[in-house]
């Protein structure tokens, strides 16, 4: 106890802990922080008393470890930790890049503390921690681990029979990610009223432009349907190609546009496309219109997808899945709506009353959105 009291007097000035240290079994403290995917860190605190068993901390052998002796032993300590604390993921071993080094304290005395940035070969988070310190000296030694992830904190203990610890939640398979994002794509197309309205006004010309065909005979109706479908496919393809391009550019961080502006321009694009049905200021080639405005709609999808993929490593898989989901949603919508509109188009009132009414409503709604979104800028 005398030794403890002595130690205590010396340590008051240092760590400001005015008390004798507890006697407890040997523990190291390991803090893994993966809450920010770009900057994952690990800190390890090892008791000086334990380190003295594996590294020469007491060069003058007087049993007192001074600040100078600890500094002198720093390379040996760092090397010991480097060899016995490893982080890795599927791509290999992650480098531990020293950030800070010094002293800390726990209930049984002073500890050497090192904070590291974990740099894995593929830039992705580390998935496994391996801990091999001190077990060959003291089988009762434990590594007490605190994991901080995006979803909060958890604790773990590493021992001689449990030297490995899985850090991240088990990696989701690429197929599962793909499936999830196909679903998200479909879902976001169907709940995104502005994209649906845009599609509607794009396909409207194709549904009634053919009703003025010379005869209503069967073969000619087939001919009308074929040309209508061809026009439709051209429009949808142009829209799809355009928004796929910009969606990819945005999600892969190649081009970034402010979300609020994008949203407002999308609203305006719907209004313009609607008015273009009767006043073709932008020309009669609807596919060109679809392509041009499709570019801006791609950025709209990107803002949704960006929220979903934050913290996810399989961005490309997610992008592909989401895009395909959007196309499937579009296709489903058209398969249901286009035949109905096409049949309605045979009625004289359709072109004269229903279409203008729809154009009017869509224009008003989209202009209202545009004003509202402009207000939010």
């Amino acid at each position: 106890m005398t030794r403890c009291s002595l130690l205590w007097v010396v340590l008051v000035a240092l760590i400001g802990a005015p008390h004798a240290w507890a006697h407890k079994a040997s523990d190291s403290f390991i803090y893994v922080d993966q809450s920010e995917p770009d900057r994952q860190t690990v800190r390890i605190d090892v008791a000086l008393r334990d380190l003295a068993l594996v590294v020469n901390l007491d060069a003058d052998r007087n049993r007192d470890v001074t600040g100078a002796e600890l500094q002198a032993a720093r390379p040996a300590i760092t090397q010991y930790i480097d060899q016995r604390l490893t982080a890795r993921n599927g791509a290999g071993r992650c480098r531990l890049i020293g950030q800070q080094w010094g002293l800390s304290s726990h209930s049984d005395g002073p500890y050497a503390a090192g904070a590291y940035r974990m740099d894995c070969p593929d830039g992705e988070p580390a998935q496994q921690l391996q801990y091999d310190l001190l077990f060959d000296i003291d089988p009762l030694h434990r590594g007490l681990v605190q994991l901080t992830g995006t979803e909060g904190e958890s604790l773990a203990v590493m021992g001689p029979d449990a030297r490995r610890l899985d850090l991240a939640a088990p990696q989701v398979s690429a197929l599962a990610t793909f499936g999830t994002f196909v679903y998200e794509g479909v879902f976001h197309l169907l709940i995104g009223l502005d994209h649906i309205l845009f599609l509607l006004v794009l396909v409207l010309p194709a549904t009634f432009g053919h009703t003025h065909a010379p005869t209503a005979s069967q073969p000619s109706a087939n001919g009308n349907l074929r040309s209508a479908l061809l026009e439709l496919i051209g429009i949808v393809t142009a829209f799809t190609v355009a928004h796929s391009m910009t969606l990819a550019l945005a999600v892969l961080d190649i081009v970034q546009l402010p979300v609020a502006w994008v949203e407002m321009v999308i609203a305006l694009s719907i209004a313009i496309a609607a008015l273009n049905v009767f006043w073709p200021v932008l020309g009669k080639k609807t596919w060109k219109l679809a392509f041009g405005f499709g570019l801006i709609h791609g950025f709209g999808f990107a803002s949704v997808l960006g929220d979903l993929t934050s913290g996810l490593s399989q961005t490309v898989v997610a992008l592909a899945g989401f895009n395909i989901g959007v196309e499937l949603g579009q296709l489903a919508l058209l398969l249901v709506c286009f035949p109905i509109l096409f049949l309605l188009g045979k009625h004289p009132l359709y072109a004269r009353a229903a279409v203008p009414a729809m154009v009017l409503v869509v224009s008003c709604v989209s202009l209202y959105w545009a004003v509202e979104r402009a207000g939010a800028l």
């Binding site: 760590i15 006697h23 001074t66 002293l103 726990h106 000296i137 021992g159 029979d161 449990a162």
Partner: protein, 414 residues
């Protein structure tokens, strides 16, 4: 609490008990003073909430420290101590020293070094002496079944030598601590047969006292002590320790006298120090408790008793020790179910006032150890929670053993 019985000579290979052998007596009180130790290696993710570790955020790293400051004073641990042992004798001496150091300082790190030293030795070359030492280690780590297995193997030889006597004594102690009084009585009987003397009398007095004959045990052990022609310091401190326990059980004030005699001879007897501190607290003699526990804050059991005394006496720095104990127990809980549950239960009950958690740990502790201190803690925690079923079951167990104790007589009244 591990009782003061097993102070024999583990490490002596011959029957003759030289003073050298007696001095580094191995006391099985070890486990009582180690927080967080028993149990196996385990690993599992525990959520913060489920283990109740309030604050696991690390202290900041201090990057500035002067070259001349002494950061830590290292224990006297020669590096050969951690190297592989060349001979059985070397290993036995080393393990005994580690266990001894763990006991006298209340420092569980030495138990780890002892375990490692034994692990390095090939199982095929295990000797009886090493098995007895290993059993002592297992008992300190509350790995009772493994301790029993090692002892059984030593006793199965049927020989009578220092190792089997030590094994018998260790077994008696283990069974007594766990409340298996018939098994303890058998072991004490064998001890009396093969190694008659004060040692065996201590053993029998402890068992008798816990099974309805405290008064007779106290009187006969007192007589044996008085009649002994020459008592070694070890025998004396030990016998006084037992007499203190028996007097306390009888509610006699002489308990203090006996315990203080033990501490004069063996100041590092942490078991007796804790018993006496608890006794003083029960008599509201807080300043004396503080004097007795001064400088022992590193030892969990004594630190908890000190915290109780500081709080009851309304001392200014009571909060400081309470906070440090909180940190200590939080770290121990993080470590896992290795926690020393008796001390923690006592802390929760008498310092934190968290009676429900106190009961949980008092119960778990009682599954492992059933010394009067453990039983009293369980009864108090059960009463604080109005857990009548538990009170009834515990009283039944005491009645079955015919155990009476003045320290919890009111808790055993139906």
């Amino acid at each position: 609490m591990i009782k003061p019985m097993n102070r024999l000579l583990t490490g002596c290979s011959e029957m003759e008990m030289s003073e050298r052998c007696r001095q580094p007596a191995l006391c099985l009180r070890l486990a009582a003073f180690f927080p967080a130790l028993w149990g196996r290696v385990f690993c599992g993710l525990l959520t913060l909430m489920s283990v109740g570790v309030a604050d696991a955020s690390p202290a900041p790293i201090q990057t500035q420290f002067s070259d001349t400051q002494v950061l830590v004073s290292l224990p006297n641990l020669a590096s050969p101590a951690l190297a592989p042992s060349q001979t059985e004798d070397q290993l036995a001496t080393k393990v005994r020293d580690f266990l001894q150091q763990a006991r006298s300082e209340g420092d569980p790190r030495y138990l780890g070094y002892a375990q490692r030293a034994l692990e390095r030795w090939p199982e095929t070359q295990m000797t009886d002496r090493l098995r007895v030492l290993r059993a002592t280690l297992w008992q300190s780590l509350h790995r009772f079944d493994e301790a029993r297995a090692d002892l059984a193997q030593v006793l199965a030889t049927g020989n009578v030598n220092a190792n089997t006597i030590q094994a018998t004594l260790t077994l008696a102690n283990l069974e007594l601590v766990q409340g298996h009084y018939e098994a303890a009585r058998r072991a004490c009987g064998q001890l009396q047969q093969h190694y008659p003397g004060l040692l065996a009398l201590n053993c029998q007095a402890q068992v008798s006292a816990r099974t309805g004959q405290a008064l007779e045990a106290y009187d006969s052990l007192t007589a044996a002590k008085d009649n002994a022609s020459r008592l070694s310091a070890t025998d004396r401190s030990w016998t006084e320790g037992t007499l203190g326990d028996l007097a306390a059980q009888l509610g006699r004030p002489e308990a203090e006298l006996h315990w203080r005699r033990t501490l004069r001879i063996a100041p590092d007897d942490l078991y007796v120090r804790a018993q006496l501190a608890d006794w003083l607290i029960n008599q509201q003699r807080f300043e004396e408790t503080l004097a007795l526990t001064e400088g022992y804050e590193a030892v969990d059991s004594l630190a908890v008793l000190r915290a109780i005394a500081l709080n009851r006496a309304g001392h200014d720095h009571a909060d400081d020790l309470t906070m440090r104990l909180r940190e200590r127990f939080a770290e121990a809980r993080w470590r896992g179910n290795l926690l020393h549950q008796r001390d923690y239960a006592r802390f929760l009950l008498d310092v934190e006032g968290e009676v429900s958690d106190a009961l949980t740990f008092a119960r778990q502790n009682w599954q492992a150890q059933r010394e009067p201190m453990d039983t009293r803690l369980l009864l108090r925690a059960a009463r604080a929670n109005d857990d009548n079923d538990l009170l009834r079951v515990t009283r039944q167990w005491l009645a079955q053993a015919n155990q009476q104790d003045a320290r919890f007589s009111e808790d055993t009244r139906p």
